[in-house]
């Protein structure tokens, strides 16, 4: 089926199988491999992207559902070669180690701050509970999000 999706500001017209997941569409059709796949049960959040500005797990959205919508992936977060403030906060606070959960974590965290610009530590922890990290123990991820909120 034919879909038109704006991804990171660029309009794409594509012909996809109806069963194609959004995550496979961005990775395999558009070559945007920054969005990672960490599970097959929508548990880990590694594949989080923004659909019309709101974080979704792209493994639970069909590419067809994004027809006519706007998608932002991790590749679309930096502007003019400068990282998004959330990306910078993760770097400054050592909020990542292996980096595999990181794109999804950044997408979820920016969406969280959009909803709640001044969260408490507890609100950050609850807001990110759909995104798993095995390296950081979350300590510096939470610190990064709080730092981004304070900016």
């Amino acid at each position: 089926m034919k879909i038109s999706v704006t991804v990171n500001g660029t309009a794409h017209e594509s012909d996809v199988e109806p069963r194609t997941l959004l995550v496979h569409y961005v990775r395999e059709v558009l070559g945007l491999t920054g969005t990672n796949i960490g599970c097959d049960t929508s548990s880990c959040g590694a594949c989080s992207v923004h659909l019309n500005g709101e974080a979704v797990k792209s493994c639970t959205v069909l590419a067809a559902q994004a027809d006519g919508q706007s998608v932002t992936t991790i590749e679309g977060m930096a502007t003019d070669g400068v990282m998004h403030p959330m990306q910078q906060a993760f770097m400054e606070n050592h909020g990542l180690q292996c980096g595999y959960c990181t794109p999804g974590m950044v997408m979820a965290a920016t969406s969280l701050l959009k909803e709640n610009p001044n969260p408490t530590e507890e609100e950050v922890r609850i807001g990110l509970e759909g995104n798993l990290c095995r390296c950081t123990g979350y300590h510096n991820i939470v610190k990064s999000v709080l730092a981004a909120a304070a900016k």
């Binding site: 990672n36 548990s43 770097m91 180690q97 980096g99 990181t102 095995r134 123990g137 979350y138």
Partner: protein
């Protein structure tokens, strides 16, 4: 004024932000499943649904006919591709029983997830669809799930071995026969406990991914794999497949965490390479999470019998340990050796006489093979001794902190030759424990506990401690030889100063989240007096970094980082010859500081490294016989392990009505010697602590009696989320290691080693008033509730 005064403050020990981060934060980094390889076929593996079954027949014909399928194979079909069985590098005893293990089983499946057939297709979905068309006839056999049932040989899994027991490895201290028995006979107090180290699933966030790219006419083979061990994998793949080693190249691209689970040579790696060779096209495989849960190695899996003897003052007089360790269905790369890595640590941080008796039996079950998982043997050992110390304190009616203080190896006793003959390099356990106690307000919490934990209270406060020693920095090669390990423990480094004074460092370490590029650049910058921005770190590709033994066992800094520092020193030695020649001075009269050589007493006679690098490049005016380059290679074999240590204190509150455990505070005081980058050290501890806390509170691979893994997904296996764990309070003491020039020790596993016993001691402490003396991990609401009910029932 001396030149040294002009030297900028060293970058070493600063919180330099990681150079790895921008690529990882922007999606620019490439993991193995991101690699675009035109023409690659996709591999899918059919896995046994039975824990234990004879394979009567495998019919792949229908799968082979599916459009898009290029080939489908049974284990028997591929039996000619293997020059030898899958590698097992650690025969811990000369008579260890180890069944031949091939990438696909052909006669018998030995765990749920054991590969029995495979498909090659033009897409991943077609390959997986085709698996459903393969017809395998099985004759199910009884599963062996329980370790002590396995030991009984009621059902023998590998007929050719005649038993499920793989080995029994004893650590006896020569000349001390009878001392242990005597100590127990003379003891004022004894403790005898049975602890279970439940099986854990490592669950690195990146499942494994592999691409094998052949050069059919040239003969070369490149294997891209999500691995911690590109160098070991290269040698083992060459040997297992009969590929000349010089034609085998392994690349570990960005790797999304390992925790020991990518320290292996896996069936799928061998299948991809073998099939790429056979079909003369690239072959790739991506692991799904559900596969990862059953087909990637598990960790822990032990029953521990722990006995302590103590005199009337609580001073330990003997330790006796019996371990039954779960190998799983087969041995993977170092399965048998994992419990042995803990064998030396069951006396923990305590000064015990030469009365130690350790024995471990490795046993096969019909479960996923076990292997290294963060800490590998050492968290298990630390758990056993630290839980047992709390039991001893309880028996004596004294505070567990007090008991530990009576037994710590004293600062003055270092370097301390332990009963095992191993030398503990440096330590100050009392200082770490006192700092942790102060930070956690240990006395205040004990006081609060006295008022809060009254009869009838439903919110009970508990505080628990673990003091640990970690044997890491694997490892002195001769010690590995004495343990019958088939490789050494050295690490290689090359430091190369380019003509423009930029520096390339080639390391044999293989980072997968640890930040080696940043840390190694800091070591070089400090040594050579340059900016870390001028240092490039090359790694994880055997064509670029051909020598190395990779990353595990908290070895990268104390072995690999030290090799880099030593290579820098060799570069400086060579540069000094060039500087002396150019400055017409004696080498002994030159000082090197801030990146420049200066003639002692003549501050104007100076030559910067940049000028020397260019001289080495042009070679117009070098000393006679000196080779025109400015580089050095070092292969460093550490003289000792490194021995980080510390004390962790956890405070919990338990709701006795729901069984829920809330961690109120977690204080970790760790001492890893000198810190290259405290930011990275802290990150390692945070992550390690949460992984240990996860063992204590959340995680367990749960099997039914038929050997089915009941929680083979991230929806059911409880990797903690941000909302499940607290922020962590860190403290550090710094006791440099005297055995290496950087004074460093490893830190990657320390958090995991300290956390599980600290949390469980806190849980038991909270419930002790109810008569609870122990419970199995994880201290889930259900297990806590059951323990309370059992204790209450017993007291009625």
């Amino acid at each position: 004024m001396t030149v040294t005064d002009d030297r900028p403050a060293s970058v070493l020990g600063t919180r330099l932000l990681r150079r790895e981060d921008p690529a990882l934060l922007t999606g620019e980094a490439k993991y193995a499943n991101d690699l675009n390889v035109p023409g690659a076929l996709h591999l899918a593996v059919l896995r046994s649904p039975y824990a234990h079954a004879k394979i009567l027949s495998v019919d792949v014909s229908a799968a082979a006919e599916l459009p898009g399928v290029v080939a489908a194979y049974s284990g028997t079909d591929l039996s000619g591709l293997w020059a030898s069985p899958m590698p097992s590098a650690w025969a811990v005893t000369p008579d260890m029983k180890n069944p031949a293990h091939y990438p696909l089983a052909s006669t018998k499946a030995c765990y749920v997830g054991d590969g029995v057939a495979c498909v090659l297709a033009t897409s991943e979905t077609i390959a997986r669809d085709a698996l459903e068309l393969i017809d395998v006839q099985y004759e199910p056999l009884p599963a062996v799930v329980d370790l002590e049932d396995a030991l009984s040989d009621r059902v023998v899994i590998h007929d050719e071995l005649g038993t499920n027991s793989s080995y029994t490895w004893d650590l006896k201290i020569e000349g001390t026969e009878g001392q242990v028995a005597q100590a127990f006979a003379d003891a004022a107090y004894t403790v005898s406990e049975r602890f279970i180290q439940q099986r854990l699933i490592p669950m690195a966030m990146e499942p494994r991914a592999i691409v094998a790219v052949p050069q059919p006419f040239g003969g070369d083979m490149t294997l891209y794999s999500s691995t911690q061990i590109p160098h070991i994998l290269k040698v083992m793949t060459a040997l297992t497949l009969g590929i000349p080693e010089h034609q085998m190249r392994v690349v570990a691209p960005s790797v999304g965490g390992g925790f020991g689970s990518k320290l292996d040579v896996y069936a799928e790696e061998l299948l991809c390479v073998a099939l790429a060779r056979k079909h003369k096209v690239p072959v790739r495989w991506n692991e799904e999470r559900g596969e990862n849960a059953v087909a990637t190695t598990h960790g822990r899996g032990q029953i521990q019998y722990v006995e302590l003897a103590a005199d009337a003052s609580g001073k330990l007089t003997a330790v006796r340990i019996r371990i039954v360790a779960d190998m799983g269905g087969y041995q993977q790369l170092i399965t048998a050796g994992i419990p042995i890595l803990g064998a030396f640590l069951y006396a923990g941080v305590y000064d015990i006489p030469h009365a130690y008796d350790f024995s471990c039996t490795g046993v096969y079950t019909t479960l996923t093979p076990t292997d290294a998982y963060r800490g590998a043997g050492r968290p298990e050992a630390t758990y056993a001794i630290e839980r047992a110390m709390d039991v001893l304190a309880d028996t004596m009616g004294i505070d567990p902190m007090d008991l530990r203080k009576r037994n710590f190896i004293a600062k003055e006793q270092f370097p301390y030759t332990a009963f095992t003959g191993l030398v503990y390099d440096s330590g100050d356990h009392l200082k770490a424990a006192e700092l942790a106690a102060e930070m956690a307000d240990y006395a205040g919490i004990r006081a609060k506990q006295a008022t809060q934990n009254v009869p009838g209270a439903t919110k009970l406060l508990g505080i628990g401690q673990a003091s640990y020693f970690e044997m890491c920095g694997l490892a002195p090669s001769r010690v590995l030889a004495s343990l019958n390990y088939s490789a050494g423990g050295w690490e290689a480094a090359t430091v190369r100063v380019l003509p423009t004074n930029k520096v390339q460092v080639v390391t044999g370490t293989a980072p997968h989240g640890q930040g080696h590029e940043t840390a190694w650049s800091m070591i070089v910058a400090d040594r050579l007096g340059i900016s870390p921005d001028d240092v490039d770190v090359l790694h994880s590709d055997t064509a670029i970094a051909p020598l190395g033994l990779d990353t595990y066992g908290s070895r990268s800094l104390p072995v690999g980082g030290v090799a880099i520092a030593m290579a820098c020193d060799k570069v400086i030695d060579k540069a000094k010859k060039i500087a002396a020649h150019q400055l017409e001075a004696n080498e002994d009269d030159l000082d090197f500081a801030g990146g420049s050589f200066t003639v002692k007493g003549s501050p104007d006679r100076t030559m910067p490294l940049a000028a020397i690098a260019f001289e080495a490049f042009t070679a117009h005016n070098l000393p006679d016989g000196l080779e025109p380059n400015l580089e050095a290679q070092v292969t460093y074999d550490p003289p000792n392990f490194s021995w980080p240590f510390g004390t962790h204190i956890c405070t919990v509150e338990i709701d006795t009505e729901t069984g829920n455990v809330e961690v109120l505070q977690y204080v970790a005081v760790d001492d890893c010697g000198n810190q290259v980058n405290p930011l990275i050290v802290e990150g390692q501890v945070h992550g390690g602590v949460v992984q240990g806390m996860a063992q204590a509170l959340y995680e367990e691979a749960v099997y039914d009696t038929d050997g089915n893994l009941k929680n083979a997904s991230l929806a059911e296996y409880l990797v903690p989320a941000a909302s499940d764990v607290p922020s962590i309070t860190l403290g550090h003491t710094i006791t440099p290691s005297p055995t290496n020039p950087l004074g460093v020790k490893g830190i990657g596993e320390a958090g995991t080693i300290g956390a599980a016993p600290a949390v469980m001691n806190a849980v038991i402490d909270a419930l002790s008033g109810l008569g609870v003396t122990d419970m199995p991990m994880p201290a889930s609401p259900h297990n806590v509730w059951k323990a309370i009910q059992a204790a209450q029932g017993a007291s009625k």
